[in-house]
Amino acid sequence: MSTFSGTASPGIWAADSAGRALLRRVRRNRLAFSGFSLTLLILFAALFAGILAPYDPLDMVVTDRLQSPGIKHLMGTDNYGRDILSRVLYGAQLSIEVGLAVMLLTVVSGIAFGMLSGYFPRLDNIIMRVMDGMMAFPAILFAIAIMAVLGPKTVNVVIALSVVYAPRTVRIVRATVLAVKALDYIEAVRAQAAGHLRILFRHILPNCLSPLVVQATFNFAYAVLAEASLSFVGAGAPPPTPSWGNILSEGRVYMQAAPWITIFPGVAIAITVLGLNLAGDGLRDVLDPRLRT
């Protein structure tokens, strides 16, 4: 996904023929629509995993190991004899939980630090230095190291990923705050001796929301991918809880003998991230055409 480095592209309004603009809008919205549908589909699967899953994802029937997809097991079984379909459904639950939690945490920290940073120049210096420092660490290594320190728990995955992805969000909020702060009407409000908090929350925050919402969607997608990557390298949610990443990781050795173990969770990840990306793009178009890709 496109990442913002804190600068919005120079806003040039499309002075194209109205028809073309509309056509693009509609097509974009169709993409956005499919994005939202896919995301909702995954949310549904995650929410109702308990009802949809035909088996207990942890149950092992050792005699049914490594069965290819069939009537009894629609997605086959793994090397422990566990049903892959059930595990993929519960994996959706984990991915969505982690994704949502990371999204919320990054948004909250983004607002908090972004606004502080954009509004108070002295704080800006310190906060941005720290953010730069955090962003200088390669993301996955950072997350692996944090997980190693905190220990293998799902809540720690959320913490690790939020720490890794917060700086980007902070920068975006800060950029918008800086831009808005310079506007004339803010000067006017300041001249009226309005309190800082009031200015921040009443006037500045609403303007930050659109890029923030777009970034939040992308953060959700990042988190799903990152959680899968962490689980893949063994630094994610602890077993036996199924996660798309650890299903992939455990199935890797059996790629030749039982490729279904690696195919299905990978498809699930791709669909989820695809849906979120499309939704994010669509939101971006709808909320502020100036920020389009």
Binding site: D59, M60, R65, Y80, G81, A148, P240, V253, A257
Partner: protein, 516 residues
């Protein structure tokens, strides 16, 4: 007449030639020296200093470079190596070793008693196994070829401790070890291969030592007897990913790949250019109880013991390349016994449930710790988790990497069940420390066990010592001190050009040659 005789003679010679060619062809031919053997191993050694570590990656290389005073043969019996013979005093406390003459180190120096003393002294200072030599009161150099060691008390395992290839008491030149701190010894030994170079994470290179003097006759096996180096060089290449080892073997990048996971091994077995063998004995998987915590109650331990289905565990964790056997020593070893075996692999969930009730179990949570570095420990843990859940136990599983798990193990308040494995031990005394209160890390205290172990350590006669260890094994089962799960074997694959390789305990590349 003359003509027929000549024809007959010619026919005989031809026949002999053909027979000879056919025979040599059938046996694969005589060993051909030369070539570079590229071996894909699982890990890079942390150090090559033989006194500093027991790490597998270090010792599997070290045993090609270094030698001990004595060692073990294929049946796990003591056999000479640098000492050609030894005498034990009637009271069992004084050992006199007669060193072989004319044995050269890789730097050309002749091995003598000075070097033995220096090596033993250093070993006693820094080795992880030095506590096994606490009883060594005195080491005298009688002559340059005779060393005398005096113990403060009878120790039935003393010779085995000298011979143990794990954390071996390697004999190095005095100059290579004197005053050297850990990891700083020069890598100079007397073995059939000499150290050439170590490029970390690329390879360790050893080359044939031309002046090697074999320690005995061929056919002794194990680590003893004549060990002939045929190949010019061996490259030990660390390839942590099993898929990469298998792929490299198939593509010809490696001649030998160690430790292949079963799915890969079965695939490689179909390749006409490769041989795939199972290495046994290798290790057996173990489960420890924390006797200072909830498992203080014998009935809870018995419940776990009753619930487990070892075949299921073995099927998943080793994909069938394992053995369900109650012995704490392998079938291949003279120390093997089935004492207490009726309590092994009970597969009895009903009995387990009953025992839990008797113990008044109310659903308290047990913490089970396993790790990701040892695949089979991880898999065994997941299977056991399910088996114990089925009998109604509330288990929480925690997964770390190996160093993290070991760090956690020290804190007895943090775990109830812990996984590990026992690799091949060469003498039963190697397992003593688990059951002695001073050295156990799982808080096991049983005076009866301590008494039995101390008794065994003072018996020099094999049959009596064996009987005592049988009693010890029976007690382990009846007291449920810890659990043995199953024998885990590993697969190894190599090119058909590699000849003479016999799988035993660890990779060994002497008596191995590359066919042209």
């Amino acid at each position: 007449m003359k003509k027929r005789a000549r024809i007959q003679a010619f026919a005989v010679i031809l026949g002999v030639l053909i027979a000879g060619l056919w025979l040599t062809g059938a046996e694969g031919g005589a060993p051909t020296p030369g070539g570079v053997l590229r071996v894909a191993v699982t890990a890079s050694p942390p150090t090559l200093d033989p006194h500093a570590t027991t790490f597998v990656a270090a010792r599997e290389i070290g045993l090609h470079i270094f030698e001990n005073l004595l060692t073990f043969d294929a049946k796990f019996q003591l056999t000479p190596q640098l000492a050609e013979r030894w005498e034990v005093s009637p009271d069992g406390k004084v050992f006199t070793f007669h060193l072989r003459r004319g044995v050269k180190f890789h730097n050309g120096k002749e091995m003598s008693a000075d070097d033995v003393k220096a090596s033993v002294d250093r070993f006693k200072q820094i080795s992880p196994r030095r506590n096994e030599f606490e009883d060594l009161a005195k080491l005298e150099i009688v002559t340059p070829a005779v060393v005398r060691m005096t113990l403060s008390k009878v120790n039935a395992a003393f010779l085995a401790a000298l011979a143990n290839p794990i954390g071996q008491l390697a004999i190095l030149p005095k100059e290579a070890v004197e005053g050297r701190p850990i990891n700083k010894a020069d890598i100079i030994g007397t073995g059939p291969f000499r150290f050439v170079e170590w490029i970390p994470d690329r390879w360790v290179k050893v080359a044939r030592f031309k002046d090697y003097k074999p320690a005995g006759q061929p056919g002794i096996g194990g680590y003893g007897g004549a060990r002939t180096a045929y190949v010019d060089e061996i490259l030990f290449i660390p390839v942590p990913e099993p898929g990469a080892r298998a792929a490299g073997l198939q593509s010809g990048d490696y001649d030998f790949a160690d430790f292949l996971p079963p799915p890969l091994a079965s695939r490689l077995a179909n390749d006409k250019n490769l041989s795939v063998v199972q290495l046994a004995p290798y290790t057996y998987v173990t489960l420890y109880f924390n006797h200072a915590g909830k498992f203080k109650d014998l009935r809870l331990r018995q419940a776990v013991q009753a619930a487990l289905d070892m075949e299921e565990i073995m099927q998943v964790a080793s994909e069938g390349s394992g053995r369900v056997d109650p012995g704490f020593y392998f079938k291949e070893q003279v120390w093997h016994s089935t004492a207490g075996g009726e309590l092994y692999n009970q597969k009895n969930p009903a009995k387990a449930g009953q025992l839990l009730k008797e113990a008044g179990y109310k659903g308290e949570q047990f913490i089970m710790v396993t790790n990701t570095d040892y695949d089979y420990m991880y898999k065994a843990a997941l299977v056991i988790l399910q088996q114990l859940k089925k009998v109604g136990m509330n288990i929480k599983i925690e997964v770390y990497d190996w160093p993290g798990a070991i760090a956690l193990r020290k804190d007895l308040s943090k775990w109830d069940l812990f996984y590990s494995s026992h690799s091949t031990r060469f003498d039963p005394s190697a397992n003593d420390f688990y059951f002695m209160s001073k050295t156990t890390f799982f808080a096991y205290t049983n005076p009866k066990m301590v008494a039995l172990i101390e008794k065994a350590n003072a018996i020099l006669n094999f049959e009596e010592r064996y009987k005592t260890y049988e009693e010890i094994q029976r007690l382990i089962y009846e007291d449920v001190a810890m659990l043995k799960l199953y024998d885990h074997n590993i697969w190894q694959g190599f090119s058909k050009r590699v000849k003479g390789y016999t799988p035993w305990v660890m990779i060994r590349f002497w008596d191995v040659w590359l066919e042209k």
